[in-house]
């Protein structure tokens, strides 16, 4: 399955035009966003801050390039670190909250950050940054211009694939098991000594680090960073893709993202009616496959069984 996907992904620029290559780049970045978002979801919480943390990566890349002429790898690392650092600070107050309070808490924190980007000209104000030039590598004569959409697509694919491998490992590592433990049985996890808040924080921060990478990829891919790009709408879409895809398996969110984005794109013929048609599709999916597309496709058998979840007996935070 993974191989098929990988081959399909690599073939895009050869069989489709620039338009589809560019769209595939967008999908690849979104896939990274979703897979990292899933880490937060693994701990049983939904967040609205993930997109703004991606923004933190994107803004860092923009500032690094514009002010310091940094190269792509350096921006990538810096973006990731800055996003993680912001997440670490935010997590201190936010992770006291649970459930819908956490969701809205993350929205408030994220929106405040985004409004500050709009407010301060250091961050380019309402206009943001533009003209972030694409990476250009020169390996002793072999020159690669990543401004060409196919080249940048492969660069994105490589970075995203590397991140996905890491995320895949992470999920199977002890840390991943701890997260799943927290999501499934918060109280039981606590009672065997797992400091659930601490591990939620770790999840939030690690997820942000990957979101930061996705942000850097975004900034280079489109050469611009605008505050509007990180508004609530995009956070909502991230959540929709994750839920529609299903978060139980590694591939659920990826499938959700790809299918829904492809759907949205294929609805272009509906022009102005597109969002409405999309809304109808969302409703139908939720009514008929409420557990998400992953169940439909039946990869669940790969690992993770069933969905039934014992009711929590008690919890420290409530909500």
């Amino acid at each position: 399955m993974t191989t098929t996907l990988a081959i399909a992904a690599c073939a895009v620029p050869f069989v489709a035009g620039d338009y589809y290559t560019s769209f595939a780049t967008e999908i690849a970045i979104t896939v990274l966003m979703l897979s990292s978002y899933r880490i937060v979801v693994l701990t049983g919480e939904w967040s609205f801050a993930h997109v703004v943390l991606q923004g933190a990566g994107a803004y860092t890349a923009a500032i690094m390039v514009k002010d310091h002429g940094a190269s792509f790898p350096i921006s990538l690392v810096a973006g990731s670190i800055v996003a993680a650092a912001i997440a670490a600070v935010l997590s201190m107050p936010l992770l006291k909250m649970r459930g819908f309070y956490f969701l809205m808490g993350t929205f408030a924190a994220a929106e405040a950050i985004r409004l500050l980007w709009r407010k301060f000209t250091y961050f380019g104000g309402t206009r943001g940054f533009s003209g972030i030039s694409a990476p250009y590598f020169d390996f002793g004569g072999v020159q690669i211009d990543f401004g060409r959409s196919a080249n940048y697509y492969f660069l994105t694919l490589a970075v995203v694939a590397a991140c996905l491998v890491l995320l895949w490992r992470l999920e199977r590592s002890r840390l991943g098991k701890v997260w799943k433990t927290i999501e499934q049985q918060d109280v039981l996890a606590q009672s065997v000594g797992i400091d659930t808040r601490r591990y939620r924080r770790i999840a939030f921060v690690i997820a942000a680090a990957f979101a930061g990478i996705a942000g850097v990829l975004l900034a280079y891919a489109f050469g611009s960073v605008t505050p509007n790009r990180f508004s609530l709408n995009f956070a909502l879409y991230l959540m929709i893709w994750a839920i529609v895809g299903g978060t139980r398996t590694f591939f659920g969110v990826i499938v959700g993202g790809i299918v829904l984005m492809a759907f949205d794109e294929s609805l272009r013929f509906a022009e102005q009616l597109r969002p409405g048609v999309y809304g109808v599709i969302l409703i139908l999916v939720m009514l008929f496959w409420p557990q998400g597309l992953e169940r439909l496709i039946g990869w669940t058998g790969l690992y993770g069984r069933g969905v039934s979840k014992a009711a929590p007996v008690s919890s420290e935070g409530g909500a």
């Binding site: 049985q185 109280v187 065997v192 000594g193 069984r305």
Partner: protein, 250 residues
């Protein structure tokens, strides 16, 4: 020195005092019963000991150290591990995975373990899980999903998960509920073995027969306060205990 001691522990929910100045201690190496009629405050007291609630007043000590302010998980890492009423398990996972989850909190391993677990640490954990399954007679069921176990097996698995967290003081919340007689016997046997292996057990239980048979010391709660404390024989003879349980005839 007692392994666990409570001093004047009180918990009020609004105006309702669920636990009132409860004071008692648990000696290491004992099986200590905590009984009382429905609504006597056992479960609240249990939550106070394990840190799911903070007491309104009073102090909880583990090995003489004040743990009143510690979180549940911090207490667990100090060796105070609980089980749950009903079946709180990782029901989607197998028996073996459930037990492995009980070991996740161990922090001794190097950080690389977070990404790639070293074969050595993996095999040592597998060995321990195997030992615990052996102990709990769950070895044959290692690959069975937790939700496919019988009720009694699920209860035992709950205790096995707790054992994986290396408890020094194991708090069991009504472990015998819903078990058949033979299951009860086997569990009682297992609890004795746990005690012999050095852990102390505090048992909240309704099944009086089992409690009387198994416990070294019994503390009786009624209306949130300690009614009496003593050996099973003393408790059995205590007139107020009888009244509390059977109710004074109306």
């Amino acid at each position: 020195m007692p392994i666990l001691s409570l001093h004047e522990v009180t918990k009020a929910f609004g105006g309702l005092v669920a636990v009132n100045r409860a004071t008692f201690s648990v000696e290491p190496g004992s099986i200590h019963g905590l009984i009382g009629p429905n609504g006597a405050g056992k479960t609240t007291l249990f939550s106070l000991i394990t840190g799911f609630y903070r007491p309104t007043m009073g102090r909880v000590e583990l090995d003489g150290e004040d743990i009143t302010r510690l979180s549940t998980s911090a207490r667990a890492r100090k060796g105070l591990v609980r089980t749950f009423q009903g079946t709180v398990l990782f029901s989607d996972l197998t028996v073996e995975e459930n037990i492995a989850n009980g070991m996740l909190a161990e922090s001794s391993s190097p950080w690389t373990d977070w990404l790639f677990e070293s074969p050595a640490s993996r095999s040592s954990r597998q060995e321990r899980a195997a030992a615990i399954m052996d102990y709990a007679r769950l070895s044959d069921l290692r690959n069975v999903g937790a939700k496919d176990l019988s009720h009694g097996q699920q209860r035992v698995l709950g205790i096995a998960i707790a054992l994986a967290a290396k408890p020094r003081l194991l708090l069991l919340d009504e472990p015998f509920t819903g078990m058949t007689a033979s299951e009860k016997n086997r569990l009682a046997e297992m609890l004795r073995r746990i005690r012999e292996d050095g852990a102390t057990i505090v048992l909240v239980e309704h099944d009086m027969r089992t409690v009387m048979r198994l416990c070294d010391v019994i503390t009786v709660l009624n209306f949130g306060s300690v009614l009496t404390e003593g050996t099973p024989e003393q408790v059995r003879r205590h007139p107020e205990v009888m009244a509390a349980y059977l109710g004074s005839a109306a």
